[in-house]
């Protein structure tokens, strides 16, 4: 429902608020899919998200470590200004790719 697998790419549609409560659940499901479906690319879709705390950063960092070892990439798409600020502050933008839509 909130996860979409296409070829070796996993898109995670994040909820409105990404906190520790949600992060725990997402970690389990994402890891299961990464392993079973031979995922190399993970896309975090922030379309509906307006809140994320450091627990969300933990999830992205964890998935990045896995995917990096597999030679893949992690992307963030549809991030609003607040989410970009959070991703910037935490240094995430140095390791993951931020997809910016064209004006």
């Amino acid at each position: 429902m909130n996860y979409l697998v296409e070829e070796n790419c996993l898109t995670i549609f994040l909820p409105q608020e990404v906190d520790h409560h949600y992060a725990e659940e997402m970690k389990k499901e994402a890891d299961r899919l990464i392993e079973r479906k031979h995922i190399k690319y993970v896309i975090f879709d922030f379309e509906n998200t307006y809140f994320m705390d450091s627990s969300g950063i933990g999830v992205i960092m964890g998935r990045y470590r896995q995917i990096y070892l597999l030679g893949g990439e992690v992307w963030a798409v549809h991030a609003n200004e607040r989410m970009k600020k959070i991703l910037n502050m935490s240094g995430m933008t140095k390791i993951i790719r931020l997809y910016e839509e064209e004006e």
């Binding site: 608020e17 906190d19 520790h20 409560h21 725990e24 970690k27 307006y50 809140f51 705390d53 450091s54 627990s55 950063i57 933990g58 999830v59 960092m61 964890g62 607040r82 959070i86 502050m89 935490s90």
Partner: protein
């Protein structure tokens, strides 16, 4: 005369309550007429402190988390307290990327987020005596500039 208002919350250390704490605190904050960014800043800081109490203070076990918040003119005060295990070295705990729970994929950024989004963060803790996080933020900075400017 100073306008003051105060509220208190007490809830179980369950992760479901992280969202509840954010909603309750931001609802109380609304009367200060904050900007959207200020609301998000406070919500993030509250989320970090409550998550810390659940994961580190009570280590996932049951306990109570206590929030006390006060509005005094344009300053918002909030205190988040637990009766958990406490922090042996507060200074170390506040260092960027430091975490005692890397296995849980904690980013080690909780206190950094609190410090970046609030004006002041103070942590009182001792092993076995729980933890108290006190934070302060001035609300309505933008509005004040706007209302005091001559046309």
């Amino acid at each position: 005369m100073k306008t003051t208002n105060e509220m208190e919350l007490l809830f179980d250390s369950k992760s479901e309550n992280e969202g509840f704490a954010r909603v309750a605190v931001s609802a109380f904050l609304t009367q200060m007429n904050p900007t959207l960014e200020e609301v998000e800043d406070v919500r993030t800081a509250v989320s970090e402190a409550v998550t810390n109490a659940i994961i580190h203070g009570y280590e996932g076990k049951e306990g109570k988390i206590y929030i006390r918040s006060q509005i005094c003119d344009h300053v918002f005060y909030i205190e988040i307290k637990d009766d958990g295990v406490g922090i042996p070295d507060v200074q170390k705990a506040m260092e960027p990327l430091f975490t005692t729970k890397p296995d849980l994929e904690r980013s080690g950024l909780g206190f950094i987020f609190m410090q970046s989004f609030m004006d002041e963060v103070e942590v009182e803790s001792n092993p076995g005596e729980g933890t108290r996080v006190k934070m302060k933020k001035r609300i309505g900075k933008g509005q004040e500039v706007w209302t005091t400017q001559s046309l």
